[in-house]
Amino acid sequence: MSPFFSNRRLIVLLVCLIFLVGLVGYSLNQNRALSWPEQFVSDAVGTVQSVFSRPAYWLSSSFDGIGDLQNLYEENQMLKAHLDDYASQRAELSQLRRRNEELEGMFDMRDDLLDYSAQEAVVIHRSPDRWNQLVGINLGAQDGIEEDMAVITSQGLIGKISRVSQFSSSVQLLSDQDVTNRISAMATGGNQSIYGFIEGIDDESGLLRFTKIDVDVEVEPGQTVTTSGLGGVFPDALEIGEIVDVQSDEFGLSQTALVEPSADFYHLDYVMVIDRGADDASAVLEEEEE
């Protein structure tokens, strides 16, 4: 008879098995402090690990640095190319601004919400897992950036500043599914203004939803949607996109239009941050909040 099948050994084996499963279950439980044997093992392993990993890390990062240098060169080339555009755009802008000032002076227009200035910024990071939600730009509080400022590209609105650090800030994109991401918007059709709200993304098409439009007004594909400026956070007349489809809601009470954004959210390199005049509604609000 094989000694392997002796009763005593079988019982010991069984107890070992129970102990093993129990241990696995215990160690997988993450909501607890490390027990002292675990601490001892992890500290011991960690010390040895760092002896090897530190030099290796240093080596790999210096290689990365060389790679980055290469990228930097290309980026610089691109920037220079864009700078040429900027010069001409700026010239045009200043010319238009001058003309506008003249006209304003003629009509004795007061310093209204239209009066804003823009700061150019470069997109510095965009993480793949939050691709549709956030991009980081290279301007921060030191450059006068504040929360809730509108961010545009030359094609149209892309979002607003959501977090500000000293030298960088992040932009919450219009394509963010966050339920608090809303804009008071208007479309111009015929000779009447159509008011509604940009509220989230349509699940199927991935287009912006322009909601709460009165059911009696005529909304048609092709109309341009801009910010209304009535909300106080976004200045007015910033282009958002173009209506591609109009649907009646489930009650026959309002209409929802799907809007193709004018700005290309996939290739964001250079953006502009809009600074509203200091005497507008949002500034007043911020003062009061403080």
Partner: protein
């Protein structure tokens, strides 16, 4: 010995195999436990977390109402409503949100002056936490061994009047919002302010990330396309009355739901009520949304197709108004006039029109005079006391101890048809007298058991709908005043020609429809179809339910009886001596009808109620009309008032059969449209 050993080994081996099997079974059990706990544990926990999703209702608008030609009468208008959803937030958070909200939207604190005493005190405590604490210090509390809740109550009561009077205007405004956002239930959006302007909504919308719990949602408000027309009959919509709240909660309503409060809105509440949708939110532990909420769409309530003809209604209202204005001097007191136009074979009501209130057509009763004589004639036929073709001699009849009864003039010999044509009171009184075996000039003051005369006459009248519910699908119908069976025999005689009980204009219309239908009494109705709520506003939804005309009773008599009554009605309008012979010349069809003039006293002045009932075309009735003009003077200039209104209304009806332009929208509505177009 060897034999024994072999035997022993044999047993041990078997035992060992048994042990091994037990060992294997235990191992499998332990492994399975390990898989459930370690491998699949995470998955199960996730599922558990998903079950904590929180859903909130999306109130659906009510169904709409169309007229018989598909014109929208009652629709819904989009309004924006500010809601607040509390998710176990602290009072400090609520106060902060209220303060921020007050920048954009203000609720006038006027309404709260001298009210909500307890709330004001709590609010003061929230604004002045330190002073509040001093009202009863923690040390004092521990000493007195008072529970936290009791201590709070004591502190609240210690807040003085002068402290309560110290709020600034702004603090009062914030109080209004703070109080309102406190009223909601956890996780259910509470309507804080309905119908906010777009500008206010825009300011709040762009800052919702600063205002946790606040949202701007679609909401609806009733829109009456034709202004005040039929407003009273459509009824009102509002929050649930305090007394009915349990009943509505049991039927699955939200506490703050809007429900139909009167007339059509209340009568068809179950149909018009929308089916709420649902927003499912996935929330983390802090109540912050994790992803875009899922929307389970609701559905607007079912639409009603009414039997009303709005264009005809507007024309008839116009006719009533111009006639009443041009003959304003004819009224003794109230300037009232009622018109009911109905289809006899379906009971479809085309218009219920009153000068002051359309509701009066079925909630006001009047003595109607001779127009109900057709019912008395039938009572005479069916009881056999005055069979078809039999006549009487119309002359003033004297009664001992009371006034004589006569027709307008002494008519001489009249048969049944002439009695209707020339409106003989004496013929009707003859019927009533013969029912109780009274012979004038012979019986003297011996009326015998005259009281059963009331019962016999009313039993016939009720088969025409006079004095009973007509069965209209609207609440609060008035059945008229039943004068009972007084000890004065003459009142039984007055009952026979419409001078005793009172009837509504709608009852009169049902009565004449029953005559036009050869004895079929059909329930009048204002809703003909229930429609599926189509979101495409261009056309009506498909028919969900169609109501069949409801026959309430059939007066089972020889067909010739109704033929003769109809001939009598024909002669009223078309006979040489008919009481309405000078009217209805321009109506595009042959009219038949009956006039009536009841003597009444208004504010001590003698006057008349003028009535007219009729139908057209005589050969194949498709429309009936009843008109009552109560309380006009007895002057010559007042005669023919009801007849004129009936004539012009019937002209309008047949005009519209030839060409329709659609009803005129309410004037205010037009102005608004013009403004937006500019």
């Amino acid at each position: 010995m060897a034999d024994k050993t072999i035997h022993k080994t044999h047993v041990t081996t078997r035992l060992n195999i048994l042990f091994f099997v037990v060992f294997l079974l235990f191992s499998i059990l332990i492994l399975r436990l390990g898989i459930v706990q370690i491998v699949q544990g995470e998955e199960f926990e996730e599922q558990l977390a998903e079950d904590q999703d929180i859903s909130e209702p999306v109130e659906a608008p009510r169904g709409m109402m169309y007229d018989r030609y598909g014109n929208l009468l009652v629709g819904n208008e989009l309004i924006l409503t500010l809601t607040y959803t509390n998710r176990n937030r602290s009072q400090e958070d609520l106060l902060e949100t209220a303060e921020k909200l007050n920048e954009f939207i203000t609720i006038d604190p006027e309404e709260a002056e001298g009210r909500y005493e307890r709330d004001w005190r709590e609010y003061w405590a929230l604004l002045n936490p330190e002073e509040f604490e001093e009202k009863l210090t923690v040390a004092e509390q521990t000493e007195a061994e008072i529970s936290d809740a009791d201590a709070h109550t004591e502190r609240i009561e210690a807040v003085t009047e002068s402290e309560l009077a110290s709020f600034t205007q702004e603090e009062r405004e914030v109080f209004m919002i703070w109080r309102e956002i406190n009223r909601g239930y956890n996780d259910i959006p509470h309507k804080v302010v309905r119908d906010v302007t777009y500008d206010q909504a825009a300011q709040i919308m762009e800052r919702v990330d600063d205002l946790p719990g606040v949202d701007i949602v679609r909401d609806s408000e009733r829109r009456y396309v034709y202004g005040d027309a039929y407003r009273s009959i459509f009824g009102g919509v509002g929050s649930i009355a305090r007394d009915d709240i349990d009943q509505f909660l049991a039927r699955g309503y939200e506490r703050n739901a809007e429900v139909g409060q009167s007339y059509l809105e209340a009568q068809y509440e179950d149909v018009l009520r929308g089916q709420s949708g649902e927003i499912r939110n996935r929330l983390n532990e802090d109540g912050e949304p994790l992803s875009q909420p899922e929307l389970e769409p609701g559905q607007r309530g079912y639409d009603l197709k009414l039997t009303f003809d709005m264009e005809l209604h507007q024309r008839v209202k116009d006719i009533i108004e111009t006639e009443v204005q041009s003959r304003a001097g004819s009224f003794i007191d109230q300037q009232d006039a009622y018109v009911v136009i109905m289809e006899p074979d379906t009971g479809d009501i085309l218009t219920l029109a009153g000068n002051n209130s359309d509701l009066g057509t079925f909630t006001q009763g009047y003595v109607v005079g001779s127009s109900m004589k057709g019912a008395t004639v039938l009572a005479g036929y069916d009881t056999g006391v005055l069979p078809p073709g039999a006549g009487i001699y119309d002359r003033p009849i004297n009664f001992p101890g009371s006034q004589p009864i006569s027709s307008v003039s002494t008519l001489g010999y009249v048969d049944d048809i002439t009695a209707l044509e020339r409106s003989s009171n004496v013929y009707m009184v003859e019927v009533a007298m013969r029912l109780v075996d009274y012979v004038p000039g012979v019986s003297g003051t011996n009326w015998g058991n005259y009281k059963r005369g009331f019962d016999i006459l009313r039993s016939y009248y009720q088969q025409f709908g006079l004095g009973v519910e007509t069965g209209i699908d609207l609440p609060n119908e008035f059945t008229g005043i039943n004068g009972g069976r007084p000890d004065y025999p003459g009142s039984m005689l007055f009952l026979s020609f419409g001078q005793f009980d009172t009837y509504t204009p709608l009852q009169l219309a049902q009565y004449v429809a029953t005559i036009a239908n050869d004895g079929q009494r059909i329930a009048p109705r204002v809703v003909s179809e229930i429609l599926y709520p189509d979101t495409d506003m261009e056309e009506l939804g498909s028919v969900e339910q169609q109501f069949k005309p409801e026959i309430l009773n059939v007066i089972d008599v020889d067909q010739t009886y109704f033929d003769r009554i109809q001939q009598g009605f024909y002669r009223v309008v078309n006979g040489d001596r008919g009481t309405a012979r000078s009217y209805f010349d321009d109506v595009e069809a042959t009219m038949a009808g009956k006039t009536g003039t009841a003597q009444v006293t208004v504010n001590g002045v003698d006057g008349n109620n003028q009535t007219f009932v009729g139908y057209a075309p005589y050969e194949d009735p498709e429309v009936v009309i009843s008109v009552i003009v109560p309380g006009v003077t007895t002057a010559d200039g007042s005669t023919g008032f009801a007849n004129t209104i009936a004539e012009r209304s019937m002209e309008a009806y047949f005009d519209l059969k030839e060409s329709r332009n659609g009803p005129q929208p309410a004037p205010e509505e037009e102005q608004i449209e013009e403004e937006t177009e500019e």
